[in-house]
């Protein structure tokens, strides 16, 4: 076998970020955009016009099966995610957001660039349960849409009523965004209004560009992961910012 460089995982937007002048850095085996401008400028941009951050590299695990209700209870207690469309943040070897997509589907979103800790945690919890554990990290592209114009931006790309579909501060819904299937998640993880958008890896770049186009009037701009960490709220018992 020849000498081969270490494998580096790329998000569906890695080339887009590079072409847009992002500072690409290596983190936990992923090539991710640290930022396009200074962190302060990007935080200010998020507060003013809104920011779009790619988080495709963050771990995503889908639990499916009849044991999902009991597993939800084991993982999150009587949190909001006990019911379909509920969302609850908790700690599982790192900050995790549980999204109850359906009665028998729980999507777990790691707020870090690796699912290793979460997978270890789940291995113990899921043992012997009627549940299928599917790592969707490279199946779903994910974005944080941040800022006070989130709803105005999403109104241009989805026909659902966000107030009805994502009631309250933490909720999730499945709908179409820019004509493709998407999962929308509202949670209280950030200090600014924000919605996570998850779509297929193959349409990641298309949806990213559609969102930027939709938010052009309100000043939506691409933002890096460093600025995202600045607006992250601390989870109870967890540091505000992930390494």
């Amino acid at each position: 076998m020849a000498e081969i460089a270490a494998a580096l995982a790329r998000t569906p937007l890695a080339t887009w970020h590079a072409n847009a002048g992002a500072r690409l850095v290596e983190a936990n085996g992923w090539l991710v955009p640290a930022g396009y401008r200074t962190v302060e400028e990007e935080v200010a941009a998020m507060e003013k016009g809104g920011g779009l951050v790619e988080i495709s590299s963050f771990g995503k695990i889908l639990l499916t099966g009849s044991a999902v209700p009991i597993l939800s209870w084991s993982l999150m207690g009587m949190g909001a995610a006990m019911k379909p469309h509920g969302v609850h943040a908790f700690a599982a070897n790192g900050p995790v957001v549980g999204c109850r997509l359906a009665e028998d589907q729980l999507l777990l979103l790691a707020s870090a660039l690796t699912t290793m800790g979460l997978e270890q945690y789940l291995a113990n919890i899921c043992r012997g349960q009627q549940v299928s554990n599917n790592n969707l990290t490279t199946t779903l592209a994910g974005f944080w849409l941040i800022g006070s114009h989130v709803e105005a931006t999403l109104r241009c790309v989805t026909d659902i009523s966000l107030r009805a579909a994502l009631p309250g501060p933490a909720a999730c819904a499945q709908t179409r965004v820019a004509g493709v299937h998407a999962i929308l998640i509202r949670s209280e993880e950030l200090t600014l209004p924000a919605v996570r958008v998850y779509v297929g890896w193959d349409v990641g770049e298309y949806v990213w560009e559609s969102l930027l186009r939709a938010g052009r009037e309100t000043g939506l701009a691409a933002v890096g992961l460093e600025a995202l960490e600045r607006v992250r709220k601390p989870l109870p018992g967890m540091p505000a910012s992930m390494p």
Binding site: I4, A7, C156, G179, W201
Partner: protein, 946 residues
Amino acid sequence: MSTGHESPLRGKLVDDTRALSFTFEGRPIQARAGQTLGAALHAAGIRMLSRSFKYHRPRGLYCAAGDCGNCLVQVDDQPNVRACLHAVQGGETVSAQHAWPALGFDLMRVVDKLDWLFPVGFYYKRFHKPRWAWPFFERWLRKAAGLGRIDLDGSPAEDTRCEHLHAEVCIIGAGPTGWSAALEAAGAGAEVLVLESLPRIGGHLLYDDSARPALDAFSTLPTSHPRIRLLTSATAFGIYEGNLIGAVQDRRFLKIRAQHVLVCTGARQQPFVFQNNDLPGIMLGRAAQRLLQLHGVVPGQRAVVLTHHDSGRALVRQLQAAGIAVVALVDQRPHADGAPLGDARMLTGATVTSALGNKHLKGVRICKLNSDGTLDTTQQQEIACDLLCLVSAPVPANELLRQVGVRFTLSEGGWRIVEGVTGVSAAGAVAGTQDVLAQMQEGRRRGAEAAVASGHSVTTMPEVPALTATPGAVSAFSPALLPREQKRFLCLCEDVTEKDCQQAVAEGFDHPETMKRYTSTGMGVCQGRACSEIVRAACSQLTQRPSGEVKGTTSRPPAVPVELSLLAASSFHPIRRTPLHALHQNAGARWLDAAGWQRPESYGDVRAEVRAVREAVGLIDVSTLGKLEVFGPDAGDFLDRVYLNRWSNLAIGKARYAALCLEDGVLFDDGIGARLAAEQYYLTTTTGNAEAVYQWLELWRTTWKMRVTIVNHTVGLGAINVTGPRARELLARVIRWDASAAEFPYMTARDGEVAGVLCRVLRIGFVGEVGYEIHCPSAYAWHIWKTLSEQGMLMGLKPFGVEAQRVLRLEKGHLIIGQDTDALTTPLDAGLEKLIDFNKPAFLGRDPLMKLRARGNRGRLVGFTLEDPATIPDEGCQIVEQGQSVGRVSSIRFSPTLEKHIGLAWLPADRAQVGNRFTIRVLGADVPALVADRPFYDPRGDRLKG
């Protein structure tokens, strides 16, 4: 220089401090911010703005509200802009359209004089004899028809966007009624969205100052509310099923969903019918009011007002207050109020029979009416004027309501709703209520009801206003009793005259719906807003049927013209990209759309790509293939039931060709399947059917209640096929495991690291060479492709695209589902009989396939070569025998390897023997071909399995 058209009043929509300019027909025009093009042109003394659709007659401002097509102009590269609505931005180049060589001197005006040649429906009657003449005239007529010219070379508008809005109550119209309703609904707790076509709330109170008590009442209302979202300059054009409202605002297409829709669109005036009733200088009374009050423009210097309604007197007062000399008020009612109004002569029981002038109004001819409504031709007079205001009884602007099925009737008391629709209501003038204070009261009531319908409660439900009689709610149409020297227009947009409608009735088109189709009334820009009532009244009188028995035409969206670019803004065109997209782009890929995916068709030189695969090694991105994992205790049995061959007996680590049928035995899809563990299978599908096969498996899994889980990895895994005689050598450079033919033989599968990434590798081949299909997490596909490319650089490696793959597979004789098959092809036809395990107790399509097998084959997919390569057939060309089609060519390519054209074709089974000759019809010529043995290349499969 003063044109005499500046108003002493300040326009309510005009910012006097901002001067703007634009050009019209090359002439610089000054405007003030907020003015429309039409108002600015009128202020500049320009009366003629356009030429009419058929007769090229001069036309000017008529409704000043976007309800007619009289003021269509070209603004920069945009045709058919309504000058009365387009607010001047500054710098526009405005030109007239539909006139040649110039607006003021249009040679096509000759059509007006030759009207005997163009009666209604002339294209069914004229120019057809002699027969050879029609193609010529058809071309000429098509060229002459239509309004405006689209710049076909220009880039499409990309500044439009679509926005989805939601509200509990959506109120269309923010006049006194709509705004009162909005405040009431919001006060009851409802989230209210208000659409107003004007830039401000107030509706007709903005320009009609006759309803003083209502103005005072309206001015006390709050102008905002925290639960009201007001969208000004927003026009609703349709209400669709489920209370979906289509609207436009600036460059935005709004799709609004509301629990309850309240329509408060008011009413509009209708044209009067008399000779030359289309001359510039004739306009609706409200148009004159709008020019005066909204834009600060004097509509004329010497005015006549024609009316049959009390509001005619109010207009006279308003014009006089603006300094306009009103020379006469002509009231058709014999007993109208004849009290003097300043210097205006009061002519009651009279009407205007003719407008005088050529390019614009110079005077009117007035005739006394007898008590029975007929004309007393002994009492006629002519009055010089440059402005004729038409003030008819208001007709509800109810097209949106009629779209959803609300029915109206005209009774003695005016227009009334006789049939409503759940979830949609109306208030104000659109519902037939005329008094403005009563309209506001009704608005409050309907607003409260809408809030209640949306789940809110009100402490006190506002009272319903008492019905008031509508004075003078009569038709503005009266049949001509004078010789028809000049045209009397019913439909201005389409140039349809009273005579045309008479002709239509004489030919049997005696209902507004059939009359519309025959004469095209209401098919123009106004979509019937300006003319539908006048045409309905005309139809009633011409057919001598009572008005109540003649129903109007059906209203359909869009009620107002909407730019196609705005409608297009609501559609999305998702683009699916593989993880290697940017690498292909950098390598010069030419793209092919395949089931929404962008795939490299080639990288420039297909033959070189084919040669690289045959002689060295090639790489192709096959990430678009469907990738399904099927696992569980019943996985083997499940696949036995779905696929044609048997899967439960497949050894672990082995792979098989996988084909499946629908229940009717028609070939559905194919791919490769591998058994990874006792209860775990991995299947690939074609690119186009990936989602369909997944759904198909899910359907039968749930139907049969089998203990199986199906996971769709199509987008989660990238896939790269490395193939060619040096493929194994290349793979060996990036793996630490043994990929030799002995350890990893043909049709096997395993998991193993490739370039440091854990992958699933299938030892399969589609192109007839040693091949490995590497499936890896999408995020690592880039790394693996780059590594293979670097390591294969000195081996002659080339990336190859879909086109080279098609050539290579054709050399190998493989079919492609969808290209070589159609919606009737069975696996028996396609030569896959050996694959089918009829010994299985059941599988999808078994019974029909058994019957077909017993009946014998209908057709066969065969390989062929051309005997004479001088003419190359295209795919889809028919195979003919004695002039009859007996088959078709499904694939054909030039094979660089075999240096000749080869293909696949469908032939009747009895003509499918190798060596048979057949004929392909190519553009009328017959091309001889020969059935050939397939595969064409490496028939024993030594290279593939080696």
